[in-house]
Amino acid sequence: MANLERAPRKSFNDLIYDLIFKNYVWQSIFRTGYPNTPRNQMLAVATNVFLHLHPTRIHRTHVKITHTYCLGGLSFFMFLGLTVTGVLLMFYYVPSIERAYQDIQVLESNVRFGQLLRNMHRWMAHAMIILVLLHMMRVFYTGAYKPPREFNWVVGVVLFILTLLLSFTGYLLPWDQLAFWAITVGTTMVGSAPVLGDESKFLLLGGFSVGPNALIRFYTLHVIGLPLVISIFMAVHFWRVRRDGGLARPL
């Protein structure tokens, strides 16, 4: 006997939805449908390498803005933004004392959005330092450093130092008066260490004063050395947040 009831006709919206989310290509990229059911929502997080930094569920108190103020996440977001703008800056910049300053001038005047690019990189770097400090304060004042999170706090302190070093090494690169003398002052402080002071200063500058060797050292540390190291520490940091049982909660 024939079934007299016809399947309900698909609405226009459903058609569009199926077109986008139920086609072969989409499903080859994202294994799940659009995350609009609890199952798909959990799968969306668990099967995506980026979202997978998160657990699939978290305690209600931790999504309250006032618990973290998103400060750790925003620090990381600044790092990502700095990486993107930094790579773009590298297209235009050559770390030699003959070219560095001129390259920045050309970037500012002749490159479309060049000034904006430089500004973004600069202000994000400042923002990152402030955000990391604020993040540290939020972790401290919520008592989230306590066991079992001691080690992640230490990793955090290392991240703070690396953030400062990244910013400091970048400071020299425009090779203007501000850069030159700030690094001169900064490295003189290093030189005053009671042990190995002069040696560390020499190692950092590749000489006795800020010059071409210092520029290439700072550049290399800034664009590859320190970013690699901080990425490793961030990976450990995020991993430990998960391993230590998510964010701290009262017993």
Binding site: H67, T142, K146, P174, Q177
Partner: protein
Amino acid sequence: MVSRAAAAIRTRPRREREAEVLVWPDLVFIEFISALIFSIALMVLSAMVNAPLLNRADPDTTPNPSKAPWYFLNLQELLLHMEPAWAGVIVPTIALVLLAAIPYWDRDQEGQGIWFGTKFAGRLTVFGFTAATMVTSLLIIWDGSLHVVWTENIIRGLGLNSDFTWPGGLDWFRNLRGFDTGIPWESLGFTIGGFTMFDDWRAIPLGIPGTTTDPWLLNLNFPSFLSQQLIPVATMVGLPVLFVLFCKMLGWIHTRRDIALLIFSAFIGVYLTTTIVGTAFRGQGQDLKPPWDIVVLEE
């Protein structure tokens, strides 16, 4: 068998499935919005304010004042008040080590995961921060000899004595260096049983010859050691101790967490104050100046 300490460390809050929410959408949404807000804010800022670019670097032209990047100006500020080795290296190293050591010292799991967490946490935080900010500012004012200028101006201004100057007898209280230059060290030697002790405070023989080449260790310049090392270090160690004792007296301190709250808040206060003073209140020759009077000269 697991020791009690180890067992305590493993304690974890019970998982409350019923109080959990899904990361997608609850958390991902918040992250997305906060990232968006920051992107827009930074875009707007970058469209409005340009990153500084001065003249090309010139090793022969020194700007006065020369300053490190702002996030190191707290250290550069310390540099004005003590031996460079302390300010530039030893103090920051110790500070970072102590910072990293907090969780190994304050191990009680009580009060984790909530803001502040102890009964007097709010007061300790406010007190630590405010008191440290005020004490640091006063110390900076004193070492900048502003109290000398102000006293002179007030006494002259009130017409009490129109050419009043800071009394020579109080030269030692002009600033930190006063302990070095304002005290007649030359006349402070004394004789015991025919031996002259300390006839030269500026070169007290200390070192065992041959064991060190460091002249500092061979001959101690006591007045300089006093003003550039002993007093600054004693201040940095002593004030936190006094803070803790004071709050204990008030009955605000019951656990290590309380001490940590107090000292950390005081640390933040000092960190901020020195950064702000170093950034906005130091003019030529690193003299204290209001921000609107600061001009950078190239020399």
